[in-house]
Subunit: 309 residues, 4 copies
């Protein structure tokens, strides 16, 4: 399947890209970058470093939106470190970003392929995708589906008491995507918070006998610091890779088709994903909202794929 990853790397974004690159089921057409965990310049450098780590500098990395549609930028350097890649930084990239803007790349790629052919994997704030949809409404029927790490139901929020980071940073963009009629698969905090990057799991990745495994282990070891401490768990959550993992083995995840809306009207709940899990409204069921996964099987899949490098 053909996918484009829209991302703000971030260590777990990089792991997501690596999993896509190493998986034969997936053809990664390109990576588009956005300000989120770090600013878009750093995110673009990090994406290029990841492509080179994987030996795939040929796949285009397209720089995208510098800032959210309406709101002031918010980053997550308190989680990911100053560079977004702290834990195992990589050599400066030898390649450059594509001259094509992320929004143009998204539009062109989708329009050049048959309707439904392309899956968007959205693992950062959704500014690029929202701009592409606004600029070219035909994308609403041409994008096959959008698989996104974002939102929350029972876990409610992480960056604020009621909002998950990716949605909070650009709630207006998320609202545009959620109301677009594109089939959406959402991997929320409810899933990612069950996947602790425990010492044992990181040790397993570290022991993979190639250069990628140890780098990923070091990344996740750094990234977990903030949230493992916050939640008092052995390891932090594992966020973005669930999107690619769901594409590879959807049966590892369970959820429901439900209505999800984004709060954009009040600062107190700004960016909240309002999930009608119990169907109390009659609103259209626009999202496959996943709430559970087979935790060990997810880590088995990660380890199995990373071993292929």
């Amino acid at each position: 399947m053909k996918i484009i990853i829209d991302t703000d790397p971030g260590q777990d974004d990089a792991l997501t890209i690596l999993l896509a690159l190493v998986s034969p089921e997936i053809e990664l057409l390109g990576v588009t970058t956005v300000s989120g965990n770090v600013d878009v310049d750093q995110a673009t450098i990090n994406a290029l470093k990841t492509m080179e780590l994987a030996g795939r500098p040929d796949i285009p990395v397209c720089r995208g939106a510098e800032r959210p549609l309406l709101r002031a930028p918010v980053n997550a350097m308190h989680v990911h470190g100053r560079t977004g890649f702290e834990g195992a930084d990589l050599p400066e990239p030898l390649t450059n970003a594509s001259p094509e803007h992320a929004v143009d790349f998204l539009i062109r790629s989708v329009m050049e392929n048959p309707p439904g052919a392309i899956t968007i994997c959205a693992i950062g704030p959704m500014t690029n995708l929202a701009l592409a949809l606004s600029r070219e409404p035909a994308l609403r029927t041409r994008i096959g589906r959008t698989v996104t790490m974002s939102g929350a139901f029972s876990e409610v929020g992480n960056i604020t008491p009621s909002a998950e980071f990716n949605v909070y940073v650009d709630p207006h963009a998320a609202a545009i995507v959620l109301e677009s009629d594109i089939p959406i698969i959402m991997l929320p905090l409810d899933v990612t918070h069950t996947l602790h990057t425990s010492a044992a799991r990181l040790a397993r990745l570290e022991a993979i006998p190639n250069r990628v495994g140890p780098v990923v282990a070091d990344w996740l070891r750094f990234e977990k610091r903030f949230e493992a401490n916050k939640y008092g768990t052995d390891g932090g959550p594992l966020h973005d890779p669930n999107t690619v993992l769901w594409l590879l083995k959807p049966d590892l995840y369970r959820g429901r088709q439900v209505n999800v809306r984004v709060e954009t009207g009040s600062e107190l709940t700004m960016g909240m994903t309002v999930v009608d899990w119990w169907g109390v409204s009659d609103l259209p069921k626009n999202v496959l909202f996943l709430r559970e996964c087979d935790v060990e099987a997810v880590y088995d899949l990660i380890a199995e794929r990373l071993a292929r490098f």
Copy 2:
């Protein structure tokens, strides 16, 4: 301890009153009524019926607010039936409500007792309490504590995808109470949804050899219909009685002192209780928010108390 129950009975409200009446640790000074599950006239009749069932027509029932402060009334007859007491209706009351208005009763009772002497048990929309606090700000330091069934964190909402019924009906009142500096103990959906009124538990109450047990069993059997069906569980949640049960045995419940705010600014999330469970803000920890209880011990306590009638 001296308590006043502010209530919109409702079968589970009636059980709450009965538990207070039969418990020697508690001195019930009076019951104040409010529109919520049913309108305030029906709620007042239901409170009077409950006092007579318990043989305590001497305790005053004071009629209170007919409608929420700002919003149009919303009821829960879809859960509680047209009368609020469907399942085991009781004879029409022989006694009358007190001539004193609920708000006046609340103010007078609190001001006539020493500071901190009175606990308010708030198990309906908080209109009366908000009006009393606005009318007499001294209550902010005179009320000992408010124990309330309201709000949600991981369970998020029941009447809407993001709001619990008691807060949703009068979110402005709830906001006034939560910002009042009164110590607040909140029994949210996170607790009440773990306490299924299963067939076995209802059978146990029904077998209590007095007239109260079977009535309570019949009430809960009716009340559970809507939510047991909605949630697909054996029995529905048990909501309001947790307030009095917490007063009797607080060790049965576990939670944290956290900041809780109420959304009043957006229709989408109107009445949401925004719970800063993970302490990501620096806001004052105004609520003891309970998230768990010992389910079997809670039902044991109910059965033990009802058996005393």
Copy 3:
């Protein structure tokens, strides 16, 4: 006609009371106080001083709400001075406020009189009136009308770019009053900003050969400082007295019956009165909204009345 003045004096509030006291058409049943221009304690002292200046210490002054329903208090000491009476302060009052709370006085007075008999003159934040309406919904049909200085259309706002002071301080209270079905006559900034307290007009009041005229002139001379400077006009606006003046001579004012709603959902426009002057909605026409007056005739009426002391 029987009126109650609900007020936060403030120099122009005091003039309003004086105009009511000296006018034989009006029977002033009492004055209720509220936090607004100054806090309720100072407002109560100022009301008592005003009654004594007029030689009417027999009319009850009832202390009311200390703070707005939901929002933090905001005062207008930048306009009225620290005491609210700067310009011509008066001797400390010899009398005391009534022991009856403003809300109770409002309810009792309206309920003891025939339906429609009483006019409320609301010239401060409407907290007391909102509490009375919430506590006793029968007031919705028993109050004859409410004449209020509040809101704005073309003048938009004064305390913020989109809100007038009296509504801004307690927008939830104003919303309760506006949705109460009581006939409302609104004297907004559109009227009050046309009534400049020019040097010539103040000189005319000062020349009135009794003790009241010069006091009023001194008050208005102080009060005008802030707004005359802000608006660059000869004299400031004249706000609250228009309510009593409209009661005396409604033909001096012109307006329309329109729908008016209050913004309570967004901080940017909090307390704005949204006036459907052009009838683009189908909402009920709940307010007689006045936009113009005969400026000279208004000042003539003031001078004529003050000369009667």
Copy 4:
């Protein structure tokens, strides 16, 4: 001066384009279209017709956004008629729209010219401009200025009681533009409502001895019907042409540099331009907000220019 007109014609939009085309001071680089008065397809046809009427089919017309960023589309066919050109419809255009998207044209034109060289004349909902700014943040410093017909202060609103049409249709876009640091000149309802298209003024345009004058007169005669009737005036307001007229003779208009923000958080006041005319906040003065004009001189200028065709 080089300008781009971003527009949703609409009769008065067409007059704006004609005034730009006929004025030697102005070099019109292109016209970009947007859904507003009519949908973007109709708006594009109308723009092409206008270019052909003026004998300038060589200037590119670029089709833009089909719908607002977040909100459902709202049109103004009740004012402009089904085609947007009712009153004097023109032959179907022989030319086609440019293959370049409006957003791309805006970005390319601004980036290919020296910083500050280009003026954007925004006379419809600002969706295209907001998308261009989000897609290419360099535009924030490269666009010389934006002259826009939008918003209101004392006139408050037209499509709703608190919002002007162009802002209301896409308030999020307007907010993006207003916060962009581009110098903004706003021609609001406060100006446009003073410029009645009276019978005498239309007769003067009709008498212009070329084919353009009578077409414009017929257009404005149709367009005025709705608003002349609504406001009870001889003629309706004249909206969009003020932008180009201000560029030609700014001395005909008077206003102030003030802070203007757009309400996007509450449905009641959605799209309101909150104008801090009196400087009560310390917010940056981001808009030259015009409130008055020399009405006769404005009509003289229109007539003088149209006579040049």
